[in-house]
């Protein structure tokens, strides 16, 4: 995979070249060119806002088809904690998990289980002395990428632990090898995802590390197949092993609760996250030890690749959580020992995508030109030029990827001037004729 693989892509045929997505994008990563939306790869953080907002469903996420599992002899599904609440509450967690056996899988391993290990490790991190606070959860890949491009000063605040998905993948593989004696090369583990960002983090991990996940299948694409098998699925196998604290990760605030500090802040929705990060960067957020930040409104339950309304899903999740709580008698589940390290060793580097030039003198010249152009633009932020705002157009012009006449108001001004000149010329008659 190249440096800029993105799960979020455009379906050219469906794109009408409207301005909905360019306006919504938190990193100003989309421009409309020749009637189609173009994603600026180095800016995209795969948050999926454009997928959600596009009225023509032209923005889509590249994920794997279910047939991807055919390439492996022993297939393990790793359902995200957000999966359970996609189905009616009459279907218990165990039934949903058993249905995976009917659609071609040989085992399932709940990512919620791994989330409990990550919570545990985060609790330990928080109690360490000298740790940089507030710690910021690294579970949402869109948030990590947002920090990479917009909040470099917060890179050191990220929790240096593998995500529950990666931990689950390793645990599931280990279990299959050790308990069932399966050859590691025969095992395929597949994440059942609520979002595009997770797919990107598997296909193109932050800094060239390899993911332990072999494929990413969207909840949306697998939903009907599971639904059709829920009635027939037997519940004899006890597969629902995750505790309530792991399940709660699906919801905004769930990770914070599991981490167990009173001083946590949970923020969801990418634009809200940006406001909070601005405050952290400006030293304006006091007394907070841990920040759980999720790109989607409502957390993973609001993921762009889920099927159920986020608020309905929240209510259902609560039932699953209550059931698990009852089983655990309200106590934290005692975790089986896991001796592998879940410390995240990848290096996260700042990607200064907003920089105008690598030479500061040139950058200053460009900035000056930018301000001048910007002051001449109408300030309507209409988006008709294909850029999200007048300022973004001014920036594009100095970057050499747009023209002032891309602005329809500027164009009209030019036409008007030209018309006036033509009229003036027309009135002039040669001396021989006057």
């Amino acid at each position: 995979m190249g440096e800029y693989f993105h799960s979020v892509t455009l379906d050219e045929a469906k794109c009408k070249g409207c301005t909905n997505c360019i306006k919504r994008c938190p990193t100003e990563a989309i421009r409309v060119r020749h009637g189609k939306a173009r994603i600026i790869n180095e800016r995209c953080i795969d948050c999926g806002e454009c997928i959600r907002i596009c009225p023509y469903h032209a923005k889509k996420a590249i994920t794997d088809d279910l047939s991807v599992i055919n390439g492996y002899k022993y297939r393990i599904a790793l359902p995200a904690p957000s999966l359970y609440s996609q189905f009616k509450p009459v279907y218990g967690r165990n039934r949903i998990l058993n249905a995976f056996f009917r659609i071609g899988f040989d085992d399932v391993y709940e990512v919620a289980r791994a989330a409990e290990y990550v919570s545990d490790a985060t609790r330990k991190l928080l109690s360490e002395e000298g740790i940089r606070k507030p710690l910021i959860s690294s579970a949402c890949p869109a948030i990590v990428r947002l920090i990479q491009v917009r909040f470099p000063n917060l890179i050191d605040n990220l929790v240096r632990l593998e995500s529950p998905m990666e931990v689950a993948a390793k645990m599931a593989k280990k279990k299959a090898v050790e308990k069932k004696g399966i050859d590691p090369s025969d095992i395929g583990v597949f994440f059942i995802t609520p979002c595009a960002a997770k797919a990107t983090s598997v296909k193109a991990p932050y800094e060239n590390k390899t993911s332990s996940v072999d494929g990413v299948i969207s909840i949306k694409s697998i939903y009907l197949k599971l639904l059709a098998n829920l009635e027939k699925a037997d519940e004899s196998k006890q597969l629902a092993k995750a505790g309530f604290e792991g399940l709660r990760w699906a919801n905004s605030g769930g990770e914070g609760l599991a981490v167990g500090t009173d001083n946590f802040l949970a923020v969801d929705g990418i634009h809200n996250v940006i406001s909070i990060f601005e405050a952290v960067e400006n030293d304006k957020l006091e007394g907070i030890d841990f920040i759980e930040a999720l790109a989607c409104t409502g957390g993973c339950l609001g993921g762009p690749l889920t099927v159920e309304n986020v608020y309905v899903a929240k209510s259902r999740l609560k039932q699953h959580v209550e059931e698990a709580k009852a089983v655990q008698k309200g106590r934290r589940r005692k975790l089986e020992p896991y001796d592998e390290s879940i410390v995240w060793t990848g290096e996260i580097v700042y990607k200064p995508v907003l920089k105008l030039d690598t030479d500061i003198e040139k950058a200053m010249k460009k900035l000056e030109a930018l301000e001048k152009i910007y002051s001449g633009l109408p300030g309507l932020d209409c988006g008709a030029c294909g850029a999200p705002s007048c300022r973004a157009l001014a920036e594009d012009i100095v970057r050499g990827i747009a023209y002032e006449t891309d602005c329809i108001f500027k164009l009209r001004e030019k036409v008007r001037d030209l018309a006036a000149q033509m009229k003036e010329l027309e009135e002039k008659t040669p001396p021989t004729m006057s």
């Binding site: 400006n282 907003l354 920089k355 500061i360 003198e361 200053m364 000056e368």
Partner: protein, 145 residues
């Protein structure tokens, strides 16, 4: 070689808390576009923000004059407010003359000047009772000495 420099000017409206911080946040965006080291941007943005807020709360509004060249940013926040009565006292953490009303809004914790001192590479405050205050902040873009 003649070095380029940029001069920026912002108005700081009085008692408008909704807009307080707009100037420093614009300057921050500019520094990001210039490709300045993020750590330096943070120093400039926070110290300017504090001075800007002070001008809003205490100074009855004012102006921000910002000069940027390849090596540094010089921020001058000028107000015609009441001036700072006891500068030495004002530099102490937690010392505040802000009203309860302002503190209820989350401002006026007595950290403004101490934070400016902490983040600015150079800080100069000229204040005269009844006439106003000029705060000059310098942040260098490269490690000094």
């Amino acid at each position: 070689m003649a070095k380029s420099r940029m001069d920026l000017h912002y108005e700081i409206p009085a008692d408008d808390f909704a807009r307080a911080g707009e100037a420093s946040s614009s300057v921050k965006k500019i520094l990001v576009q210039l490709g300045i080291d993020p750590v330096r941007i943070k120093k400039a943005a926070i110290s300017m923000y504090e001075a800007e807020i002070n001008a809003v709360i205490h100074g009855g509004g004012g102006n921000a004059e910002v000069t940027i060249d390849a090596d540094k940013i010089v921020i001058r926040i000028i107000d015609s407010g009441p001036g700072i009565e006891d500068l030495e006292l004002a530099m102490q953490e937690g010392y505040t003359t802000a009203t309860d009303e302002i503190r209820e809004m989350g401002f006026g914790a007595g950290m403004g000047l101490p934070n400016m001192k902490r983040y600015a590479d150079e800080l100069d405050i000229q204040t005269e009772k009844g006439k106003g205050t000029v705060v000059t902040i310098v942040v260098y873009f490269h490690q000094q000495g």
